[in-house]
């Protein structure tokens, strides 16, 4: 194996079902349902997918949801804003833990 990630693996993803077909069938059926038009549009779901893909830092997902967003009619401005939403939450999640730090400091300090 030359690299841990190979872009061709994305097109072969369904092979993951070879040794656990029933679980794969259920997963892919669920996955398809999740991203279908619903209370949220398929376009909105693709934007959420793109943002989460960056949060979990999955290169396959980033590749797939970049294309999905374009094919659902989103533009780079919207896609970039979606990334800032997750970036803000990730940053905020770190920063809000500062309250724990502050409580600890207050407890230990004169």
């Amino acid at each position: 194996m030359d690299t841990y990630y190979d872009p061709k693996d994305l097109g072969r993803f369904q092979e993951i079902g070879k040794d656990a077909p029933e679980l794969a069938r259920k997963f892919f059926a669920y996955y398809g349902e999740v991203f279908a038009e619903g209370a949220l549009s398929a376009r909105e779901k693709a934007l959420i997918g793109l943002a989460v893909a960056h949060t979990v830092q999955c290169p396959y997902c980033i590749d797939a949801y970049t294309v999905a967003c374009l094919e659902k009619g989103s533009n780079l401005e919207e896609m970039t804003e979606a990334l800032h939403v997750v970036t803000a939450i990730r940053g905020g999640a770190s920063l809000v833990h500062g309250m724990q730090m502050r409580r600890q400091v207050e407890k230990l300090s004169l």
Binding site: L10, G11, R12, F13, Q14, F28, Y31, G32, S41, A42, R43, G49, A53, C58, Y60, C61, A64, Y65, V67, L70, E71, K72, G73, N75, L76, E77
Partner: protein
Amino acid sequence: MVAMKMDAFLMETEFKDMLARQGLTLDRGENRTLQINVGYRCDLACRHCHLAAGPTRGELMTRATMQAVIAYARRGGFQVADVTGGAPELVPDLDYLLTGLAREVPQVMLRTNLTALEDDRRGHLLEICRQLRIVLVASFPAVTAAQVDAQRGQGVWSRSVAMLHQLNTLGYGLPDSGLELHLAANPGGAFLPQGQAAAERQFRRELAGRLGLAFNHLFIFANMPLGRFRTWLEQSGNAQDYMGKLTAAFNPQAVDGLMCRSLVSVAWDGILYDCDFNQAANLPMGGVRRHINEMDGPPEAGSTIATGRHCFACTAGAGFTCGGEIAA
């Protein structure tokens, strides 16, 4: 993240082999539309143009060929005449052609890139269109200036928006005016377009809400791997993946509604094709090079349609035709 598997067959298959694999045939049905490409000259040089139209192209329909087209429209019994280019506005005598077609065919459509309409000398053309109730189909690929300008040239967004305002002022695209204004959109690169209904909602929300613009319907098309777009696909390293994507998205249910089954395309020089894309691919109608003057009437139902790998762009997903998406 769930992707369609693309095997070697999909990456290299010919369109006719895919039809055979699916047990399908593609032949002519009832003729409805006469599409007339009046020439490849255009004031723009869009990066997705399947004809590689542009300012330096010299192919323009002559008045003699226009007379032949009008005569064929009469004996062909077509329901729609669809005038395209290039930028048809740049062709001398376009008003002669439109006026002649309007006498012979119930509905005449004119495809416009909007910027070619803005020349003051063509003010009379807009008036002719309004008087003849000619349906306008305007290229308007996206709802952001950045995307439109990247695809069509710097400043094209603002010029297009200004022309749409002018058309609305004339009554085009307004409810109950009887003056139809449709928009034609395509993706900004090597990916498939979104569904037509969703795209129309998005365009209406953006254009009406943000810019106060009205239009009747949005037609959406996949980019055709021909001409300037094909060159870009090859130069950018996207050609193989894009063809694989189109092939993998083949929808057998789209075949019956393909425009080539009901359309005759005549080029600037009077040669006939099964569609405008075959014109770009130099595939004459039924594989036989014929001039419009050789035709006694419309092509026979059941006759052969010439195909190439680019045809996968019309059968991808819901499928696309000259009126946009075929079916969900």
